[in-house]
């Protein structure tokens, strides 16, 4: 029994010594290492995107667009408002850039708008990492105006200025390069707000998503009566109040406006 007691005492002594050594080891380290406040979660840093395959063109900024097209003889044109009507068939998908401003309505862009776009974007983007491209032409459609105080009659007025017609769904400018949407979004929204038609900033993925959503809506519409069905079948003689334009566009557009949520 006495031997057992002695052994336990020796063991305690050894343990104490070891503890002291360990305690000294802790004391050597700073006070802060004793108390570690762990956050509930763990911050994970996402991997930065790889831009090695992105080619930057030589002239990254938007080029200057003329106010007036250089024609020998400028011809006056009909008003032809149908170039604003309906959805865009040309330039409604991305080519070289990643982010763009897309028109959500129809309208005319004149030189003042184009200058505003050009100056804002050229001033704000970093030419080393970003580039921008026009997706619309320089103004080519002549708009005539009569002088102030003129009475009706006396022929068509003189050409006042030129405009570019833009339809719904057309891309106005494209921006790309070694940037993410967040870096470029504020510049593009600034421009989009000043356009004469409602406009939106999109990326490739968000544009695809918009188109996909529209298709999905068309597919899973629970309403057995659709505009297309009634208009094409001329049910109730509805063609009396519809135009051929409505037939093509199935009630999604009225004039230059796009009606959202229509299928």
């Amino acid at each position: 029994m006495a031997l057992c007691n002695m052994m336990s005492v020796v063991r305690a002594a050894v343990g104490g010594l070891a503890g002291l050594c360990r305690a000294h080891g802790h004391q050597r380290a700073p006070l802060q290492s004793c108390l570690k406040t762990c956050a509930a979660g763990l911050k994970t840093y996402p991997v930065t995107p790889d831009y090695s395959d992105v080619l930057l063109p030589e002239k990254p900024k938007l080029k200057f667009l003329n106010k007036v097209p250089n024609l020998k003889k400028a011809k006056k044109e009909h008003k032809k408002l149908r170039d604003i009507q309906g959805p865009a068939k040309l330039a409604n998908s991305f080519t070289s850039g990643q982010y763009a401003i897309v028109a959500m309505g129809g309208g005319y862009l004149h030189w003042g708008h184009l200058e505003m776009i050009r100056l804002t974007i050229n001033r704000k983007i970093d030419a080393r990492t970003t580039f921008a491209r026009w997706r619309i032409n320089a103004p080519y459609k002549p708009i005539t105006r009569k002088g102030l105080g003129q009475r009706m009659g006396g022929g068509k007025g003189a050409i006042d200025h030129y405009v570019t017609p833009v339809r719904y769904g057309r891309l106005v400018v494209e921006v790309g390069g070694k940037v993410e949407l967040g870096e470029v979004e504020h510049i593009l929204t600034e421009v989009a707000k000043k356009l004469p038609f409602p406009a939106k900033v999109v990326s490739r993925e968000s544009l695809e998503e918009m188109q996909r959503n529209q298709k999905e809506m068309e597919e899973n519409n629970q309403n057995p009566w659709t505009f297309e069905r009634i208009a094409h079948g001329n049910m109730m003689g509805i063609r009396r109040v519809l135009s051929p334009f409505d037939l093509h566009n199935n009630g999604r557009f009225t004039g230059k406006f796009h009606l959202p949520g229509r299928v």
Binding site: L31, T44, M152, N223, I238, L242, G255, K256
Partner: protein, 252 residues
Amino acid sequence: MAATLCMKLLRNQGWAPLVQSVRHGSKAVTRHRKPLHIIKQKLLAVTQYIPPARVVPPGAYPAENKCVQEDAGLSLLLKKDLKKVFEESKMVAVVQKNGSNAEDMMILKHRLCKHGIKVKFFPNQVTRSFLSDSVYCNMAPLFIGPTVLFVSKEPKVKEMLSALRASPQMTLLGACIDNTLLSAQGVVSYSKLPSVTVVQGELVSGLTMLTSRTASMLQHHPARLSALLRQYVKQQSPDDGAEAAPKAEAAT
């Protein structure tokens, strides 16, 4: 100027001609939203989009395919550490620390180090994801709030409890000792248990009690034995009568 009444005839042969009488109204494309004919308004109202009916409201059930995020490097490392800790140690106690300074912590650590109990810090998110994969999934509800792990190879519960009693801000939530989950009261009662050797000894003594008692009795002086037996017979006699008495006499 132009006639007030215009007639338009579509060139397309297949279609019925559309006769439109325009009285210098606005064109088709206007700056304002043109007021629609009432019948067209009705048509647009009838042909509105009706989404598919949802059986379940959107937020009722959790998403079926939850996107499982892959663990980043640091959390993988921490999980490896955790795994090692759980494998090596017999006792893993979860203690909640509320408002203790580094100084108090250091003192506590010093006290626990003497008995070989280590103090470990792990983020709750990592611990919970590790526990959900491992056997110790029922420990997951313990890891809420600022928690600290006390690990040791030997289950030295008494020393740990005494050290925790000294620091009032540390609350014991639960422990996993020898692969058994114990609550705080369970830990206290575990500490009050005698050691294994003591329990074994008690068990052995309990089993051999009868034989040992008989052996000790037989080792007494025979006179004492006979006296004891006579006493026993006297006690039995009110119950049995004279039958027990000759038997007892024969035995002595």
